[in-house]
């Protein structure tokens, strides 16, 4: 212990304390604070980034799920639209068909009617024409029959004969 105290140097103790304290204050200002701050900042940034990444991942997942849902909905809608369209088209065709049929029948009926009317008119005209022709023929025949005296006489005779017979 005596040796220990004998070795103790007040000067060394003094300078060591001065140097150490000076170093302490200098390092605090110029080294430890900036270093620790930088490290802390970086750690916070890393933590934040990780959190953000996690969040983004979750968001992505949600978005994906949403997309899938949307896709599903879209598909369902498309199917229903296609189905509707098909139905509508079919209906339209059916409608058109029936309309066309009705129209055609209508046309047919009216055509028949007009044909019948035309036929009746034609027949009527034909009758008139035939009657006129018959009259003309009869007139011509009569005229021929009665063109000479002999013939008139013969005819009168014949007619007289017929009358006799009756």
């Amino acid at each position: 212990m005596e040796k220990l105290l004998g070795e103790f140097s007040v000067g060394l103790f003094f300078w060591q304390s001065v140097i150490f304290l000076a170093l302490l204050f200098l390092l605090r200002k110029y080294a430890w604070k900036p270093i620790l701050n930088a490290v802390n900042e970086r750690e916070e940034k890393i933590a934040e980034s990780l959190e953000l990444a996690e969040k983004t991942k979750a968001e992505m997942k949600a978005l994906q799920a949403q997309n899938e849902n949307l896709l599903k909905e879209a598909r369902a809608e498309r199917d229903s639209i296609v189905k509707d369209a098909k139905e509508t088209a079919n209906k339209m065709i059916e409608d058109a068909k029936s309309a066309a049929k009705t129209e055609a029948e209508k046309v047919l009926t009216s055509a028949r009617q007009s044909i019948n009317a035309e036929k009746a008119a034609a027949l009527a005209e034909l009758k008139t024409q035939v009657a006129a022709f018959s009259l003309e023929i009869a007139e011509k025949i009569v005229r021929t029959e009665l063109s000479s005296e002999d013939k008139q006489k013969a005819l009168a005779d014949k007619m007289a004969g017929d009358i006799n017979l009756n």
Partner: protein
């Protein structure tokens, strides 16, 4: 790594050579009055070696690198001597001529004896007592000794190093260069020393001290491993300075709970409280004392062991023994290299632990 070992090896050889030269000089001149001629050559060698090891671990007033024993010349440079003896006395240590000259300053005479400066008469007489201790008056010695000088250099180095690292963070968030190596250490001190011992709530206010003390001790321990022969942290004044700062910080930042645990231990009967108070109070002083002794003893012991082993290389005149001692020295050198880190870690760790006691909050469930 292999190259590093090679360099270390070369250093050790150089170190030993310088030391050998140095002790020879001392034996011949420094202790001229000792009965050198009566000793056998081997005894003389041995005493030189022990003198060398002792010398190596002590603080000196000049920066001595090595001596040429054939010419008796010293290589190194002097450092300023600052004395307070009814006024400031400042002169260069070279004036002492390694203890052979008396220095006159402002009417007073000083002489260097066994690394200490004494006030003497004009002839430079030093009076010894029966234990060969000088009885002369010792003025207050505030010299920039080798240890102070090395500490200053290391402090400057630490400052520039970490300021450089701090500047690097302004440019980019990722560590670059030296920061790649030192950032994990800084984080280690924060995450494995400060936070577990002090707690999340208060650790920040102690970080500056913990980091500084760790790197200060570690770097000074490391410089002690070089063949420059400095032994800063193996010096009781140095460890005392560090321990007392830990002590002051602990006591000044302590909360009521800390003092209550010392003077009026909760959860024990009143007679026990009275018995525990002085014990606990003693503990307050023992803790920094243990810090001081631990670092001092470990570093000093390391230096003495390594110095002795290197000395053994020169005592044995047998190549086989020299080779094996060289291997052992190398091995112990590596262990000592680990000890430099370990002691810095332990000092910081215990300091953090004491800070943790000081700011511990009251927990009812513990009692």
């Amino acid at each position: 790594m292999q190259r590093l070992l090679g360099i270390l090896f070369a250093f050790m050889i150089a170190c030993s050579g310088a030391a050998f030269a140095n002790t020879n000089e001392h034996g011949a001149k420094g202790h001229g009055e000792a009965p050198v001629t009566e000793m056998s050559a081997e005894d003389q060698k041995r005493s030189e070696m022990s003198e060398y090891v002792k010398h190596h671990t002590q603080d000196v007033h000049d920066f001595h690198i090595f001596s040429d024993n054939s010419t008796g010349k010293h290589y190194g440079f002097p450092l300023p001597v600052i004395l307070w003896d009814n006024g400031l006395h400042v002169f260069l240590s070279s004036k002492f001529e390694h203890g052979h000259a008396t220095v006159e300053s402002k009417g007073n005479y000083y002489r260097l004896d066994h690394g200490k400066i004494y006030r003497t008469n004009a002839e430079g007489r030093i009076v010894y007592d029966e234990h060969h201790h000088a009885k002369n008056y010792k003025p207050l010695d505030l010299s920039i000794t080798k240890n102070v000088f090395v500490t200053l250099l290391m402090a400057l180095f630490i400052f520039l190093l970490f300021r450089g690292i701090a500047k690097g963070y302004k440019k980019s968030m990722a560590p670059k260069g030296a920061a790649k190596f030192f950032e994990p250490l800084v984080l280690f001190i924060r995450d494995d020393i400060a936070i577990p011992n002090i707690g999340e709530k208060y650790y920040k206010r102690y970080m500056v001290y913990l980091l500084t003390v760790f790197f200060f001790i570690w770097f000074l321990n490391l410089i002690g491993m070089t063949p420059l022969g400095v032994n800063v942290t193996g010096n009781i004044a140095v460890t005392f300075a560090l321990a007392i700062i830990t002590f002051i910080i602990t006591q000044t930042t302590a909360n009521g709970n800390y003092w209550k645990h010392i003077f009026w231990m909760p959860g024990v009967p009143v007679p026990m409280k009275i018995i525990l108070a002085p014990i606990e109070l003693l503990g307050v002083f023992i803790k920094p004392f243990a810090l001081m002794i631990r670092l001092y003893a470990n570093m000093l012991a390391g230096h003495i062991v390594l110095g002795s082993l290197i000395s053994l290389l020169f005592i044995f005149n047998n190549w086989f023994a020299r080779g094996s001692f060289l291997g052992l020295t190398l091995f112990l050198n590596l262990i000592e290299l680990m000890v430099t880190f370990l002691q810095a870690y332990i000092f910081t760790m215990l300091t953090a632990l004491y800070f943790g006691f000081a700011v511990e909050e009251h927990h009812d469930e513990h009692h």
